[in-house]
């Protein structure tokens, strides 16, 4: 009898567990109208829907992001998310100083916090004690890009075109790339090309006039890729010079399909919306945590998967 009662109690507990409701917030510096963040949003929603369907629990995920970039607005949105006392908050650490107080407050209230897209750059003791980070690694992206090129052919000379000098992310990508190339005995340096495509082509032409043996280029985003692709095509160098790019846009995808570019690096941001929701659920329900930060990038798009990725972009996955 006692056993049966206990069993019934257990059953009801499990039953109530099945009907549990979880509320998660994703707070980001990017507005929902921004195509990049639209993909993150889709990842978040897909994870919540799939988990709700598969577990019987109700997982509610809400995306908050200022339409126009504003740290103040980001903090306001984060505060309103915390006020709702959710079972988890996912946040981009765009401005560690401004986000430090609200996130620490959330953590002290027992709300699990996961960082996405931009980690807190400070050393372990000083950084906001979030559970872990889900996102890309700029420095590693440069390293992997260089390794990919070296696997094809050891270039005579490699150059990184930086379109926004002083941008920490871009400089880290360049640093990783140049270090690996230099270690392999390839002369490598960065060249500031600016954001005006006409002037950039002129600078690139000047560089090739000075160093005609250059046969490997790494661009750090569509603003650098456009003049580079134009230059290589106009000078008949397409396919003769190895080109690695960063991020996905129409010009970059076409360059890969046309054989002008070898690959492009992406941070697969769908996963930055998807994985934190899954982990927040697993953490709340079973206490699971990954051993390390989860890197969603560098991911690569090249001739082997470009057609597939192009289709998936239209469906909002990349």
């Amino acid at each position: 009898m006692k056993k049966a009662l206990l069993l019934a109690l257990l059953m009801s507990l499990v039953g109530s567990g099945l009907a549990a409701e979880y509320t998660f917030y994703v707070v980001s510096h990017g507005g929902p109208g921004d195509p990049f963040w639209g993909v993150v949003m889709k990842g978040m929603q897909d994870a919540a829907d799939l988990l709700s369907k598969g577990t019987g629990d109700t997982i509610k995920a809400t995306y908050l992001g200022p339409a126009v970039y504003s740290v103040t607005e980001l903090v306001n949105m984060l505060n309103s998310a915390i006020a709702a006392r959710p079972q988890g908050v996912v946040c981009t650490i765009t401005d560690p100083a401004a986000l430090d107080e609200p996130l620490r407050r959330a953590i002290s209230l027992g709300i699990p916090v996961i960082a996405i897209n931009v980690p807190d750059p400070r050393p372990a003791g000083e950084r906001i004690p979030y559970l872990f980070y889900v996102g890309g690694d700029e420095y590693l992206s440069g390293i992997k890009a260089a390794e990919r090129m070296l696997a094809v052919k050891k270039p005579a000379r490699a150059v990184v075109f930086i379109h926004e000098v002083g941008h920490v992310g871009l400089e880290l990508r360049a640093k990783g790339f140049i270090e690996v190339m230099s270690a392999a005995g390839v002369p490598a340096e960065k060249l500031a090309i600016g954001i005006d495509p006409t002037q950039a082509v002129d600078i690139i032409r000047g560089y090739f006039a000075k160093y005609p043996d250059t046969d490997a280029i790494f661009t750090l985003g569509p603003l650098g890729t456009l003049p580079t692709v134009t230059f290589l095509k106009e000078q008949g160098l397409a396919g003769k010079v190895m080109l690695g790019c960063f991020d996905l846009d129409e010009v970059t995808l076409k360059a890969i399909k046309d054989g002008v570019a070898l690959f492009t690096v992406t941070q697969q941001q769908y996963l930055q919306g998807y994985l934190p929701i899954v982990w927040l659920y697993l953490y709340n329900k079973y206490g699971f945590l990954p051993a390390n930060d989860i890197l969603t990038g560098p991911g690569f798009v090249d001739s082997s998967n470009v057609e597939k990725v192009e289709q998936l972009i239209k469906q909002g996955y990349w």
Partner: protein, 336 residues
């Protein structure tokens, strides 16, 4: 006559110096020309393969796009006003051209629409400045931010591209290649400089432009409709910026929302190097021609000379200041 009297009082300098002074007074672009020659000679000696057809064509291409914008700015500056919004207008026009092309509109129609939109923005700049009586520096600072914001909001920060299977004639007319690496943009640039120069030097409107910038009250007394002149010049400045945006799109087939950012300052710098006064009333397009060639040459010249490209901006900064110091002193000396 008056000058001769003044010159006579200053212990009569040699006659040839006096003639040089008169010539310099009529040619404020001399400083820019001299600077151009010096920098050109410097790069020819230090940079490998600087004196090649490809290299010169490339410099001319950079100078052409900057120059089309700078020509409009020069015109406006002579009439005493500024336009900081040209970079944003260039971006807006290029984006309209790209979006309409992508939507399969006839390219000519999209081009006209882009130029009309630019004209509208210029008209608005002028109207606000003249009617509200506020400095154009402020008006166009505001519109610069506004239109850049619109660009970012409409595109969500992403580039817009259009890939035709064969290059359309419209694109070839705007910015096709000829004689090796030369581009149609250079022809547009030279044509515009020529046309604007004729208007400035040979027409009544040109006189009105100088009068509006030189002494507004005197111009009004003489019956020059200064407000109208200014508004027209704002429109010219914006339309030329828009044209430069379309020309650029015709080559690159892709526009990002940051297109044209920072261009306004380079265009103003080129005009100033060419002898146009910030205060209005003086300047000419030949000077601007030399100014944009100088600015256009510095960047690739430095790269080819092996200097780190991070130095470019510092170098242009020095050129601007040196050019204006030299121009100002020459003018003072010539006016003595």
């Amino acid at each position: 006559m008056a000058e001769r009297k003044v010159a006579g009082r200053v212990k009569s300098p040699p006659r040839f110096l006096h003639e040089i002074a008169i010539w310099l007074r009529q040619h404020p672009e001399f400083g820019a020309f001299a600077g151009l020659l010096i920098v050109f000679a410097g790069f020819s000696l230090t940079a490998t393969r600087f004196l090649t057809g490809d290299s010169l064509a490339s410099i001319l291409t950079v100078a052409a796009e900057l120059g089309i914008v700078s020509a409009g700015i020069t015109f406006l500056m002579i009439s005493g006003e500024f336009d900081l919004s040209v970079g944003s207008v260039l971006g807006v026009a290029a984006m309209i051209f790209a979006l309409t092309a992508k939507a399969r509109w006839p390219l000519f129609l999209g081009w006209i629409l882009a130029l009309l939109a630019s004209a509208g923005i210029g008209f608005l700049n002028g109207l606000i400045t003249v009617r509200a009586g506020i400095p154009s520096f402020i008006t166009t600072l505001g519109t610069m931010m506004f239109w850049r914001g619109i660009l970012l909001a409409v595109t969500g920060g992403f580039p817009v591209s259009y890939f035709p299977t064969i290059t359309p004639t419209m694109f070839l007319i705007l910015n096709g290649r000829f004689a090796g690496q030369f581009r149609a943009s250079s022809l547009w640039f030279l044509g515009i400089i020529l046309l604007l120069n004729i208007i400035l030097v040979r027409t009544r409107y040109g006189n009105a432009v100088y009068a509006t910038g030189g002494n507004r009250d005197a111009a009004r007394v003489l019956g020059v409709a200064t407000d109208k002149v200014k508004i027209i010049n704002f429109v010219i400045s914006a339309v030329l910026a828009g044209l430069a945006g379309c020309i650029q799109f015709a080559r690159f087939l892709s526009v990002d929302p940051m297109r044209g950012l920072g261009l306004e300052l380079e265009a103003i710098a080129a005009a100033v190097i060419g002898g146009t006064l910030l205060t209005g009333g003086a300047g000419n397009l030949v000077g601007t021609l030399f100014g944009v060639l100088l600015v256009g040459m510095v960047r690739s010249g430095l790269v080819q000379a092996g200097a780190p490209a991070y130095w470019y901006q510092a170098f242009v900064g020095i050129i601007v200041v040196v050019a204006v110091v030299v121009n100002t002193n020459l003018r003072r000396w010539a006016l003595k």
